[in-house]
């Protein structure tokens, strides 16, 4: 039996935009164990809730993550609205849904680009990020911000999208979908991509479920769980069915994200077509007194904001469980059996977002 050595992976590594550390236990080039650790950029944003009034904390919440920023704000606002019994206007729910899905599109395209880059497929990386730019252009057009948008607030949204702009976005969706489908064909059908991803980092359905995995990591292993199915924001009226793959390998997790591009475009299209007229916010009075576990489906999976109000302007507690944190145990199970050269691909396949994890 070959001797075992420990190779540190991270916190600085070419495929990692953010720092996480994994001690890889190897026999020759085969991974037999993996031990993760975090904390390099821990920011203490949860405790900041005691220093900011609850309407202001929306700005902090959306800075938990530089990719799924809008959805952190949405999750937080929905939680506060539940505690305070606030009914937000229908139009704001539809607008929140549109911006959520644009966030998912840009996140998945970002990930697809990074994933292609990690495989050494530079053209695919550039094409993915080229498409992402058009998504960010729409975010900038409609909110003033490419990533940090600051449109979600307790009681609704801050900005409306005019009918002319909605029509323009709607007209552009067909060609954008065509471009995404062309991109998706390469990820799903290219022989080198399949050779690199199939059978790698396998997570069984039972493991994915009992380990508490979230998002494409969970759905790529055959578990049909997507919090959009519960009908928050406008998903109740628009309807949504989880995208599922069953193989549980890196290819399956990639396929879930590719297919979710199409479902996000479909949701945006139907949200624009069904956009109700009316106000975009309601006046909010008082302070939250009570608790709620608010849950929203981010690009990486279900995020949980536990919010505890004590009747003052400052919350007593905000505890945020991010999907990447929930996917760390799954990653520890996926890595044994992989070759050292495949470790970056397996790590990226959970779409790790460390700034979320280090809230």
């Amino acid at each position: 039996m070959p001797g075992r050595i420990v190779v540190p992976f991270g916190p600085q590594h070419p495929v990692l935009p953010e720092p996480i550390h994994i001690d890889l236990v190897l026999e020759d080039e085969l991974v037999v164990d993996a031990v993760p650790s975090i904390g390099y950029i821990h920011r203490g944003l949860e405790q900041l809730v005691q220093k900011r009034e609850y309407p202001e904390y929306v700005y902090v919440a959306e800075r938990i993550c530089g990719i799924c920023s809008f959805m952190h704000a949405l999750c937080y606002c929905q939680g506060i609205e539940h505690i305070m019994g606030i009914e937000v206007p229908d139009r704001s729910r539809y607008l929140r849904t549109i911006w959520s899905e644009y966030s998912r599109l840009h996140s998945h395209l970002l990930w697809l680009g990074l994933f292609a880059d990690a495989m050494g497929f530079e053209n695919l990386f550039m094409r993915s990020w080229q498409l992402r730019e058009s998504v960010l252009d729409i975010s900038e057009d409609t909110t003033g911000g490419r990533i940090i948008q600051s449109t979600c607030k307790v009681g609704g949204v801050r900005r409306d999208i005019g009918q002319d702009k909605l029509d323009e976005i709607h007209r552009g969706l067909d060609s954008f979908e065509e471009d995404c489908r062309d991109l998706g064909k390469v990820f799903l059908n290219d022989e080198t991509v399949k050779y690199r991803l199939k059978g790698l980092g396998v997570l069984s359905k039972d493991e994915a479920y009992t380990l508490g995995s979230a998002g494409p990591t969970l759905r790529g292993s055959g578990v049909a769980s997507d919090h959009r199915e519960t009908g928050y924001a406008a998903y109740g009226e628009l309807g949504y069915k989880a995208v599922v793959e069953t193989a549980g390998d890196c290819y399956a997790r990639c396929a879930v994200r590719v297919r979710e591009l199409y479902s996000s475009i479909d949701i945006i299209r139907r949200a624009i077509e069904g956009m109700p007229e009316g106000p975009i916010d309601v006046k909010v009075k008082g302070a939250p007194d009570g608790e709620y576990f608010s849950r929203v489906e981010q690009p990486r999976g279900e995020v949980v904001h536990y919010l505890l109000g004590n009747g003052t302007k400052h919350l007593a507690r905000a505890r945020i469980r991010t999907p990447t944190f929930a996917n760390i145990p799954a990653l520890v199970k996926m890595l044994p059996g992989a070759q050292l050269a495949d470790v970056p691909i397996v790590v990226l396949s959970i779409d790790p977002c460390i700034s979320c994890t280090e809230r």
């Binding site: 650790s37 220093k51 539940h82 508490g212 279900e302 007593a316 760390i328 145990p329």
Partner: protein, 126 residues
Amino acid sequence: MTVNEEQTTINIAPGDLLREVGALNSDGYRLVQIGCTDVGGAYEVNYSFDKGYQFRNLRLTVEPETEIPSISDIYWGAFVYENELHDLFGITVTGINIDFKGTFYRTDEKYPFSVTRRGGDRCQDV
């Protein structure tokens, strides 16, 4: 439409934790998260589970020196949350399957971060 997801919270004693968690596991619930709230001199520890979007929450209220048993024998992935409980709040969790003994969060600041443990809030006013 405000989100009105059904959520139930049950207060339990530390001695009942493993039995209650085992029952949820047998019933097909998945572990969503374990989180802690500093309630001034004591801690509320929430164990959250989900099955088909039905949210169940078990709550322990413990003194700072109380040891609580690990549920990682039942839910293997619980080790991340239990090490976090230890590193951020100083709670001793016994029998964790992967026990980092305070090194899961590799911060310059020594654990635990808890205000109760430190006897004062060191978060800077800005």
